[in-house]
């Protein structure tokens, strides 16, 4: 593309799908008879192969570093027990052929040389289908499971993450194309001078390594990023290929796109260089009416009476089991100043008393019980597309037309059959409208997302092997 084109955002007119197998939180229904295992490989295989049948671009796994807690004990009411992302994705690489394999991995409790090596390994194993969703973690509660402990200041997290990502990119750049010989009669296995060492010496870590892997079919793993703060957005605009965003609602999505385009341009990248795939949930049926009924059923299973009370307990910091889930919010005040991170990042750092006061008046005003109120808070109203296959397809076609997003990262509410409806009914509707792929563009994730091949970032010092 020319410089002129690069500065102007061009909608692709298409959307793609990713699947986010969550493994935690209340979004996954475990009480239905169809609810499968959260840990057995068969669940992962089934859902990944279904996604691939539906031409999904990516299969996405989160990362578990500490089991979520509730009032000082492991949280009992939601699904839990997720396997290691890269290990599971390496196994999925053997039973899939086109879908991208995205591992969420934090920059705090990993070493750059080790993590870059393992991601490069997954990328080669899968024939160029690996991606890394870069996340930061800074709290000491998570750090209690790690040798490194909770050593990072919250303010430093993106500085640290960016140095980490830069180092990883240099490691992935270290073998030139054609570095590995193409004949057994070559003088040496790798071409001398085509492999370079990487040195980094910084505040949080130092790296001195001769990387052990060549480039993959897609050059290097694709980078996803999900931070939503201004620092997080700038970080993504500089480093990421795809943003796993929190803005699926149409107007928000358009606004978020404009913001990311301007940040990308400011970072010296093209307007289309950073793709956006918001988190989303789909509740679909043959008719709008049936979809609404289905949604009520899904919501009742996602937030049962115990979960509703437990949700408030997390903010109140005390037991509230005496309160009727179908009655009003508790009149007593929270015993904590700030909510803790122990139930996941979504619960972290709220001003508890202020929040309780605000919620009580909001629930009273709307006449909501504890259960109704919590359901309204946790159902991610903005992120849910509810309706008939045709109605939702029409809605998504509009996103594609204006380029509000590049795709949706779908969290199925049922595992492992939660994509069946989408693949069997929604995807064909979208294809008829010309807004969804009808085949995989290629065998690598980069090709299937339509991302450009990276440019070698810098010259490195050759090493003698």
């Amino acid at each position: 593309m020319t410089q002129h084109n690069r500065a102007k955002f061009q909608p692709s007119g298409k959307i793609q799908f990713g699947i986010f197998f969550q493994g935690v939180n209340s979004g996954t229904v475990w009480k239905a008879s169809e609810s499968g295992s959260q840990t057995d490989f068969e669940s992962f295989r089934r859902i990944a192969q279904t996604a691939e049948r539906g031409l999904f671009a990516a299969f996405f796994l989160g990362e578990g570093l500490r089991l979520r807690e509730h009032l000082g004990r492991p949280h009992a009411l939601d699904v839990a027990g997720r396997p290691d992302a890269q290990t599971t994705l390496a196994a999925l690489a053997a039973v899939t052929s086109n879908i991208g394999l995205v591992a969420t991995q934090n920059t705090t409790y990993n070493d750059p040389a080790d993590l870059a090596h393992r991601l490069a390994s997954l990328d080669l194993l899968s024939g160029g289908r690996a991606a890394w969703n870069v996340v930061t973690t800074d709290n000491a509660w998570t750090g209690a499971n790690f040798r490194r402990g909770g050593y990072l200041d919250h303010a430093d997290r993106y500085v640290h993450a960016e140095a980490f990502v830069e180092t990883a990119k240099r490691i992935w750049d270290s073998w030139e194309d054609g570095a590995v010989s193409s004949s057994v009669s070559a003088d040496s296995w790798a071409v001398p001078s085509h492999v370079r060492s990487v040195h980094h010496s910084g505040q949080h870590y130092s790296v001195d390594v001769t990387p052990r892997l060549p480039r993959s079919a897609q050059y290097r793993p694709v980078l996803f990023q999900a931070g939503d703060s201004p620092e997080g957005r700038d970080f993504a605009a500089r480093q990421a290929d795809v943003i796993f965003s929190a803005h699926p609602k149409f107007d928000d999505a358009v606004e978020f796109r404009a913001d990311i385009v301007s940040r990308s341009l400011a970072a010296g990248r093209g307007a289309n260089d950073v793709q956006i795939m918001p988190a989303s949930e789909f509740i679909l049926a043959a008719t709008d009416e049936e979809a609404r009924e289905l949604k009520e059923w899904v919501r009742s299973l996602q937030i049962g009476p115990q979960q509703a009370v437990a949700y408030l307990e997390q903010f109140w910091g005390r037991e509230l089991s005496a309160y009727d889930p179908d009655g009003p919010l508790p009149e007593i005040d929270p015993v904590v100043e700030e909510t803790s991170e122990t139930r996941g990042s979504g619960f972290h750092g709220a001003k508890a008393r202020q929040l309780a006061e605000q919620w009580r008046s909001e629930a009273k005003e709307k006449g909501l019980s504890i259960r109704q109120f919590v359901s309204s808070r946790t159902s991610r109203v903005d992120a849910t597309f509810t309706g008939s296959y045709t109605a939702v397809a029409d809605t998504l076609a509009e996103y594609a037309r204006v380029g509000a997003v590049d795709g949706f990262n779908i969290s199925p509410w049922l595992v492992p059959t939660g994509l069946d409806d989408i693949v069997n009914h929604l995807v064909p509707e979208l294809q008829e409208r010309g807004v969804y792929p009808t085949e995989y563009a290629g065998s690598t994730l980069r090709e299937n997302l339509g991302l450009a091949t990276p440019v070698r970032s810098e010259s490195l010092v050759p090493v003698q092997l």
């Binding site: 578990g64 290691d84 790690f146 296995w189």
Partner: protein, 408 residues
């Protein structure tokens, strides 16, 4: 129990699948170009060839790669094993995983996950990197000697505890009470490195992020002498083949006599299984083994701490059959994977099986089952606490022997 040889008891065979073979110049005799080594297709074809040949176990080396003109790249061992999981059905998958420069919590989760993707066929070959390069790569201070053993032991202990931190049946899915988990079956492990731990100490809180592995505890494999306890399979090397049987018998005696490599749990003979390490070069492609070795050595010398068998397939059959009288298993390191594996599959394993020297290969069997190990209860459950009390009172060996006896 006695550590004496157990004549007539069949053993198992493991094959190391690293790269193009154990000889550093093996890539020059491979059936594919160097740039076709580091991919999934290669893993699929080699592990399936090993499984169909009748090997019980595949191992996957990790860590440093050779320098100079030979193979300079290696895919992560645990990922190679994970990739092999869904494409195989009987072969046990044992990656080498480092304990010195890795986070024990990650290692534990990764290995438990490997157990899930392989249907309970996973093991852990404990590595303790002694290289300054690996320390520099992650910016840690270089550890060596006794410090390596201490770091390895700490990492293994963390994994052992985390694997037990979810008791069996912790996922209850009780719709009536709204509970997905039974929190009483989840346990903090509160690991702390001992006071004499070399380098910065650390703690691990737990519980694990993943439920108990399918096998309860993955079998832990280590070179003789690395871990003072808590090892299920001990790998034994000797300078020459003729010294190997004696070395294996010596390690068996040490295990039975409470020596330095005693296993904590009941294994084949009340202790760890003993596996002999053997490099193998065979007559093949119309060339003698010694001729093939000389040709490879002319490219790059092959330094190895293992005994090396160089000869015909028939001679190897006799040698292995005799060695399996004392060893619980043998791990073969083929000089050239593509070449030796073909000879082993056609001429060696069928004859060993005919002679009754090999255990049957169990479809869907676990690594613990292959080793004759029961599936232990969690140390944190009521039953586990009772078992620990029994062991403390000196009842463990008798109880363990009874379990092994009932399984066989």
């Amino acid at each position: 129990m006695s550590g004496n040889p157990r004549p007539g008891r069949p053993g198992f065979l493991a094959l190391e699948l690293d790269g193009d073979g154990a000889h550093p110049a093996a890539w020059r005799k491979a059936r594919h170009a160097p740039d076709e080594l580091l991919n999934g297709a290669r893993i699929r074809s080699t592990v399936l060839a090993a499984e169909s040949a009748g090997f019980h176990v595949a191992t996957f080396a990790d860590g440093r790669v050779s320098s100079g003109r030979d193979i300079a790249g290696r895919l992560n061992a645990l990922q190679r094993a994970a990739f092999a999981g869904p494409v195989t059905s009987s072969i046990v998958l044992v990656p080498e995983v480092d304990t010195v420069y890795t986070e024990p919590f990650h290692v534990s989760t990764q290995l438990a996950s490997l157990d899930y993707v392989s249907g309970g066929r996973a093991g852990w070959l404990v590595a303790a990197s002694g290289s300054a390069e690996e320390a520099a790569a992650v910016g840690r201070s270089f550890a060596e000697g006794a410090a390596l053993a201490q770091k390895a032991a700490a990492s293994v202990e963390v994994s052992r505890r985390l694997w037990d931190s979810w008791e069996d049946g912790a996922v209850i899915r009780d719709v009536a009470t709204g509970r997905y988990l039974d929190v009483d079956k989840l346990h903090y492990v509160d690991f702390e490195t001992p006071a004499d731990f070399p380098g910065p100490g650390y703690s691990v809180k737990g519980p694990s992020i993943i439920p108990r592995p399918l096998q309860g505890q993955l079998p832990v494999v280590a070179q003789a002498g690395l871990l003072p306890s808590d090892v299920d399979v001990v790998l034994v090397s000797a300078p020459t083949p003729s010294l190997l049987a004696a070395e294996v018998a010596e390690v068996h005696r040490a295990i039975a006599g409470g020596g330095a490599v005693v296993g904590a749990g009941p294994a084949l003979a009340g202790g760890a299984a003993v596996v002999a390490e053997l490099d193998v070069v065979l007559d093949a492609r119309g060339q003698s083994a010694s001729g093939r070795l000389a040709e490879l050595d002319a490219f790059t010398p092959w330094p190895s701490s293992r005994a090396r068998f160089v000869g015909t397939a028939a001679e190897l059959v006799d040698f292995l059959a005799e060695l399996l009288v004392v060893a619980d298993g043998i791990r073969l390191h083929p000089a050239v994977l593509d070449v030796e594996l073909e000879e082993l599959a056609q001429l060696v394993l069928p004859e060993l099986r005919r002679r009754g020297a090999l255990k049957p290969v169990a479809q869907g069997g676990t690594f613990r089952e292959l080793l004759g190990l029961d599936r232990p209860v969690s140390r944190y459950g009521d039953a586990g606490a009772l078992a620990a009390l029994g062991a403390a009172a000196g009842l463990g060996a008798a109880a363990g022997a009874a379990v092994v006896g009932s399984e066989n």
